[in-house]
């Protein structure tokens, strides 16, 4: 590919990412305004208290708080005003548009570099944000989640903002160590699981908020009334994490195989490897916690948040603070 074409594609990619950020901002504002409009519907009675999540200590039923009924995609909201409905439609459409723009940006970046666009932290971030947005859009087809979407879009925007300001590097060639088809396999699995875990993180965080609100026993008002029930959030967060966990395991294993090829050992306790294992252990603890009496609900959600924190640290902290074999973040 000619240098000029590559430069043009790189510029196009940057513009698309900026356009996506603008669109995400619009989507965020529309969704937030919709939630605000929903809660100021005149004359509407506050939503009644929902059944508290049955943490069901000593219950022999494994799915105590999350029977299939709770997962039914029945709308959680009372009939909203037409303005709120309009805002919600705008927000959802712009969200799709923004995600398409971001996908275009990622593809253009890959074309400009002549390789899969995940060779440095910038590329990893924009692709991860794309995966998170796509995962959310897929999830939203089945469940009404606008109250969750606001936060997810905020996280995506934050990621993109960080990517274009702090992590940005111009399009460049890959280091010899990265030139392997394992880059495609290992890093793609890592990006997918990171994106999926991001959605799960938002769900787990909101689960904690919802459960706290429900425990007060008072009628839910304002934003809290627009949130899905804590039990539903818990079940959704579990399902999303349960999808991300095998993918993360695969990412670690693919990394080990690549390490065997590239460095001559499949596991060498490099800081990146250590933190990948820590993340794996914490998410494994989360999956176990959800089946342990007394741990379901808020406590399990806290474990999931800790897992996500270790994932973030592995991505940012390890690249920035520790010298290791994975030190080609490009920052």
């Amino acid at each position: 590919m000619s240098q000029a074409l590559s430069a043009q594609l790189a510029a196009l990619s940057n513009n698309l990412v900026y356009a996506a950020m603008a669109a995400y901002t619009v989507a965020l504002l529309a969704l937030a305004a919709q939630l605000a409009a929903t809660r100021t519907v005149p004359g509407e009675a506050p939503r009644p208290v929902r059944e508290p999540v049955s943490v069901s200590v000593g219950s022999s039923r494994r799915d105590g708080g999350s029977s299939p009924k709770v997962l039914d995609p029945a709308p959680a909201l009372p009939a909203a005003s037409s303005r709120a409905e309009r805002l919600a439609r705008i927000g959802r459409s712009v969200l799709v548009l923004a995600t398409l723009l971001l996908a275009g940006g990622v593809v253009a970046r890959g074309l400009a570099a002549g390789r899969t666009p995940w060779g440095n932290m910038y590329e990893f971030s924009i692709t991860g944000a794309l995966v998170a947005a796509l995962a959310y859009l897929l999830l939203r087809r089945r469940y009404p989640l606008d109250a969750v979407g606001v936060w997810l879009v905020a996280v995506v925007l934050l990621t993109l903002g960080l990517a274009v300001t702090v992590l940005y590097v111009p399009v460049g060639p890959l280091l010899p160590a990265l030139r392997s088809y394992w880059l495609v396999i290992h890093v793609f699995a890592a990006i997918v699981s990171a994106g999926v875990f991001t959605v799960a993180m938002v769900l787990s965080a909101l689960q904690i908020v919802a459960e706290r609100a429900e425990r007060t026993g008072r009628p839910l008002r304002g934003y809290l009334a627009t949130l899905p029930a804590a039990g539903r959030l818990d079940a959704l967060a579990y399902r999303v994490t349960a999808f991300g966990f095998p993918v993360w395991s695969f990412a670690v294993v693919a990394g080990a195989i690549w390490a065997e090829v590239s460095w001559g050992r499949y596991w060498g306790w490099d800081p990146k490897e250590v933190w990948a294992l820590v993340t794996w252990l914490v998410y494994a603890a989360y999956l176990h916690a959800r089946t342990t009496a007394g741990w379901r609900g808020r406590r399990a959600s806290v474990v999931a948040l800790v897992g996500y924190a270790t994932l973030l640290f592995n991505f940012f902290g390890v690249n920035l603070f520790f010298a290791g074999l994975h030190a080609y973040g490009g920052v």
Partner: protein
């Protein structure tokens, strides 16, 4: 994954009654039950995660011995404490091993009884239909225009097609004799099988890692272009081995580095980024085998008899010739220099022991005496040299304007002391730096240039340069077991997370006029399933299978 299913309900708060005293057996049983409980397993998972972290913060002797040495030099008190706590070798420390061994004992202690249970569950008949099917989470009832025996056969086929294990339920009495007959069906045992496979496979991974650390080895050897090595312990620059490693196991190959090329980006946004390192080698798997050729690149190791030869880091080796005052050559050859930055600003030393040479007229007079007149040269090799206010450095990794900056010492190198020393560092404790005209002696040489050492110590010539490559020779014993285990683990994990355990019952009762009333009911044993659709589909398919029979909703005339 779901031990709670198999455990008796545990109250959150123990009753405030003092338990009866336990004997030693009782204590052991109590401890075992604790260790294999889910709560303790959770705790151990957290503990292991926590225990792994220090190894990423404190330098590890295994991966970065240099940093360990530096920390010990700069902060000996802290290093002593780290040493005591095993923080320089976290992953082989006893406390770390204690945590993961406890976790694995807990895991096995949980898996073995569950395997027994699962074995029984798999072979057991699906449980008989409950009396009141309409009280199950999903339930449908309809009337079909077919005799009960046909309906039963159709339902049996439908359930089999949907991969249920189906049994005729005898509890309801004889078929078609005015009473009701029913089918009990069950699927999803794969979930627990996957769960057990996952946990057992983790034990396999642990075993493979143990084998690897017992029988594996990892060595490094630096080879200058044109040079080579035979795969024996004495030729390695460094070697780490497992406890049961036997040097006789080393594959007897020999390898010669014919040509080593480095390619760097010379334009664009990332100038100077390495594009490719390519080591072209000729090698023999064993002394009497034919010579083979191969390219070793960063992600393309050479593999022979379970041993891998990897290309690690490269560098430059200036070719130097040192002559004495009479012009006799004391040393001539390539000296590997270690790169200090991405542009290969490289440092290195040359140690020239000058021994008493009996054949020479001036033997013992001023050189080669016990006090020593060895020559030590410290140099800086710059592939693309720039000398400015920031000092001499290289600005591009390829040799576009190579230069050698050097200074020299004389005295006793200490090579006869029998103490091993680094070939990259000069021990100057018994040496003095050469001076010229009152200043420290320095020379800057281009290729082919020479410098006279002051004080009649001879001369140094910068003949040119070549490249070197650092190779790693390693064997990861048990890696195949680890790979198979870990793939089994992921497959089992996926099954344990996504396979749904379901039970389904179909009850058929005769209705007047050769028709049947059929009830389909289902029970999900895992959260999140769409049970209603499942039951509906079963009913629809049974109806479709009984072509020609017209269904009637119950209550219709």
């Amino acid at each position: 994954m779901s031990r709670v299913l198999t455990q008796a309900p545990t109250p959150r708060v123990p009753p405030p009654v003092a338990p009866p005293p336990l004997g030693p057996v009782g204590m052991a049983r109590w401890a075992w039950r604790q260790l294999t409980s889910m709560r303790v397993a959770l705790l151990l998972l957290f503990l292991l995660a926590l225990a792994a972290i220090p190894g990423s913060v404190v330098p590890q002797r295994d991966s970065d011995p240099l940093a360990v040495g530096e920390l010990a030099a700069s902060n000996p008190e802290l290093a002593r404490w780290y040493e005591r706590l095993g923080l320089f070798d976290v992953y082989s420390a006893p406390w770390f091993a204690a945590i993961y061994l406890a976790l694995f004992v807990s895991l096995v202690g949980c898996i073995v009884p569950r395997s027994r249970q699962h074995w029984r569950a798999v072979r057991a008949r699906p449980p008989a239909a409950p009396r009141a099917l309409e009280r199950l989470p999903a339930h449908r009832r309809s009337t079909l225009d077919a005799p009960p025996s046909e309906v039963l056969a159709a339902a049996h086929a439908v359930l089999r097609r949907r991969r249920y294990r189906v049994v005729r339920d005898g509890a309801d009495g004889p078929d078609g004799a005015g009473g009701a007959a029913s089918l009990a069906a069950e699927k999803g045992h794969l979930r627990e099988s996957g769960n057990l496979v996952f946990h057992l496979a983790l034990v396999g991974v642990l075993a493979a890692v143990a084998v690897g650390s017992l029988f594996g080895y990892r060595a490094q050897v630096l080879v200058v272009q044109g040079g080579g090595f035979a795969n024996t312990v004495i030729q390695y620059d460094s070697l780490r081995t497992g406890a049961l490693f036997d040097p006789a196991d080393l594959p007897p190959f020999t390898l010669r580095l014919q040509r080593f090329t480095m390619d760097f980006a010379d334009s664009g946004a990332q100038v100077g980024t390495p594009l490719d390192y390519d080591a072209y080698v000729r090698w023999q798997p064993s002394p009497d085998a034919p010579t083979q050729q191969q390219h070793i690149r960063v992600n393309e190791p050479l593999s022979t008899a379970g041993t891998l030869v990897h290309l690690l880091n490269p560098g430059y080796a200036p070719r130097l010739t040192v002559r004495d005052a009479d012009g006799d050559v004391l040393f001539s050859g390539a000296v590997p220099f270690l790169p200090q930055d991405a542009n290969f600003t490289s440092t290195g030393v040359l140690k020239v022991p000058v021994a008493a040479q009996p054949g020479r007229a001036d033997a013992g007079a001023d050189i080669g005496t016990e006090t020593g007149a060895d020559i030590g040269i410290e140099g800086l090799f710059l592939p693309t040299a720039v000398l400015d206010a920031a000092g001499p450095r290289s600005v591009f990794p390829e040799p576009r304007d190579p230069a050698l900056f050097l200074t020299a010492w004389t005295g006793d190198l200490g090579l006869d002391d029998g103490i091993p020393q680094s070939v990259y560092r000069l021990d100057t404790s018994r040496m003095t730096q050469l001076r010229a005209d009152g200043d420290l002696f320095r020379a800057a040489l281009g290729v082919g240039e020479s410098a006279q050492l002051p004080g009649g110590h001879g001369s140094v010539t910068f003949d040119g340069y070549t490249r070197w490559a650092n190779f790693q020779v390693s064997r990861n014993a048990g890696k195949e077991v680890a790979l198979v285990s870990v793939l089994c683990a992921i497959a089992g994990l996926t099954a344990s997370l996504f396979v749904r355990r379901r039970r389904c019952w179909v009850r058929v009762a005769a209705a007047p006029g050769g028709r049947s009333v059929v009830e389909v009911a289902g029970l999900d044993r895992d959260a999140g399933g769409d049970l209603g659709t499942e039951v509906e589909q079963i009913e629809t398919q049974v109806r479709a299978a009984l072509q020609g029979s017209r269904p009637r909703p119950e209550g219709a005339p």
